[in-house]
């Protein structure tokens, strides 16, 4: 039992000092939530990967192409239902800083193998029927104001046109995605258009296929299937590596570097810095209360109560800061998601993230409070009373 009033009155005694500490804790906790949400976003593709899709890519790297002929061969493998080609186009709209992905793909198969891709405006049939058309994710469409029927000029980098002009794609439809493994930022167009243009000499660039996405039949032994496909091309011409979609996405995440490790390192650094700030405030505050501690002990308050008094101050201070940080993270979630849209689709402040932040807040409160609280607890009443105010 300790005077709770003293907890708040002592915190309010040095308003500016406590306010600055609370603000820095709030910002740090907010930052931590945001960083963790980025990791969650990066991981979304792995978590939400489809279990009935396999990816075939060159064993060398994602940037090495496989022969076109593989498609027909793969189609004959039993257990494979349907195949979609994906080729990275790597162009840009007006300016290189306007980043969104474009892929050359098999229109019909894409919409069939990826049921999460939902046409929300325009028509799927229009897209499938017109080889010069494309579909665009709703987020990118909104960002650049693309409407169904517009022509979007994409300046190529890997596949320049011989006439030097941009590639024109007519927007047949806009799509949204039901799952986080497909973002809403991408432009999909017809592989046939790209292939034919290269064939006719209207454009140049590497030929072949970046990845094949296979939809497997229900109940198929995927492990066996993956080994079978890998074995087919063991002796070339291009050795392949077949993975599940989840593995493929994970590899993609690790390509950017070990982001979770990086983010955790920053997060740990931020937390240590903030712990030191909170500890500093608590040490100063506790030192100023030394004589009060002596008075309380003289009046008969037990050592444990004194410990509680100082611990409570630390927990309240850190709790308010952390609470504000957590509230900020949740409130700014839509804004952050929009802001990070194309770079980190799937930004989400999950309840796990919030609980982790709450746990860290309490941890900082305990760590910042424990040393001053222990010191006050063990200090002899006479010694404490002698402290100059």
């Amino acid at each position: 039992m300790f005077p709770t009033r003293l907890v708040f009155k002592n915190l309010l005694k040095h308003k500016l000092r406590v306010l600055l500490t609370v603000a820095s804790i709030a910002i740090a906790v907010f930052l931590l939530c945001a960083l963790q949400s980025l990791v969650v976003a990066l991981d979304a593709g792995v978590r939400e990967a489809a279990s009935n899709r396999l990816i075939v890519q060159s064993k060398v790297s994602l940037f090495v192409y496989m022969p076109e002929s593989y498609k027909a061969q793969l189609e004959r493998v039993s257990g494979v239902e349907r195949i979609v080609r994906w080729n990275w186009f790597g162009g840009y709209y007006q300016d290189p800083s306007n980043f969104f992905a474009q892929f050359a793909t098999d229109a019909d198969a894409l919409l069939d193998v990826y049921p999460e891709i939902q046409i929300v405006e325009g028509s799927a049939k229009d897209f499938i029927d017109d080889q010069r058309s494309c579909i665009i994710g709703a987020v990118t469409a909104e960002k650049y104001g693309f409407k169904v029927g517009d022509t979007v000029p994409i300046i190529a980098t890997l596949f320049p046109r011989t006439d030097g002009a941009a590639w024109d794609f007519r927007v047949a439809a806009l799509y949204r995605s039901l799952k986080k493994n497909v973002d809403e930022n991408t432009l999909f167009f017809h592989s046939q258009y790209l292939d034919k243009s290269i064939e006719l000499g209207e454009a140049s660039g590497p030929s072949g296929v970046g990845v094949f996405v296979l939809r497997t039949a229900p109940g198929v032994d995927q492990t066996a299937l993956m080994s079978e496909i890998d074995a087919m091309y063991e002796n070339g011409p291009q050795v392949v590596q077949t993975t599940t979609e989840a593995e493929f996405q994970a590899q993609f995440v690790s390509m950017i570097g070990n982001v979770p490790f990086f983010v955790n390192s920053i997060g740990t650094g931020v937390m240590i810095a903030i712990l030191l700030a909170a500890l500093n405030t608590m040490l100063m505050s506790a030192r100023e209360q030394t004589r009060d501690v002596g008075v309380l002990k003289a009046l008969g308050f037990q050592d444990g109560s004194i410990f509680g008094l100082l611990m409570a101050q630390s927990l309240v201070m850190c709790g308010i800061g952390g609470g504000i940080g957590i509230a900020m993270a949740k409130m700014l979630e839509p804004g952050m998601a929009k802001f990070l849209g194309t770079m980190f689709p799937g930004y989400e402040v999950t309840s796990t993230t919030l609980m982790m932040a709450a746990g860290l807040t309490v941890g900082i409160g305990v760590l910042a409070g424990i040393a001053p609280a222990l010191r006050a607890r063990s200090m002899h009443v006479i010694e404490a009373l002698r402290a100059t105010a």
């Binding site: 309010l12 008075v295 008969g300 308050f301 037990q302």
Partner: protein
Amino acid sequence: MSTPLIRLRGVTKTYERGGEVLTVLNKLDLDIEKNGFYALMGPSGSGKTTLLNLIGGLDQGESGEIVVNGEDIARMDGADLATWRASHVGFVFQGFNLIPVLTAQENVELPLLLTNLSRSERRKHAEVALALVGLSDRRSHRPSQLSGGQEQRVAIARAIVTDPMLIMADEPTGDLDRKSAGEVLDLLTKLNEAHGKTILMVTHDPAAASRAKKIVNMDKGRLGDVVDNQPVAQR
């Protein structure tokens, strides 16, 4: 003479400083009667504060017994001693020692948090104590908004709010001007005479000491005889 309220026998307190042992209280014997008002005098460094702290249960010596109302507080552990202080002793310090962030009323209520009183009872008790020291109108002032004399009267209200039998006052008028000192001494006298409190007061001021019923002199860790104080008028 009836059994004393407080009985000290062979009380010794030493400090070690740089390998040297300093005997601050040297085998003290002392009897303090119930409802007594004692002034403890003596040169600086003679051990007055140390003795007061031992009797008030703030500190403990190496040997000897301090029996208060039948309990030997020299043998109690820290937690029991704290509980004992809360119900038996009120302290008045030279430097007032109010909690700066609390109002007068809150300061006085502080010791009552250790009792079973309800919130409204605590408030009422604190108001009565503040009225007794004549500071009802200052109850929402913080210590920094009070004069030294007023601060010390709030401290006295805090010391008596739990109705302890003992009041330990270490140079209660040491930081006060003559008029404020007089008011504080009037209060202590009233607490002793009208409320039956046993008071032990350390002071350097002969005028303050003259308000006590008995005077004890201390020198170099030893106590002189307890002498009856002659009312000023009769000297």
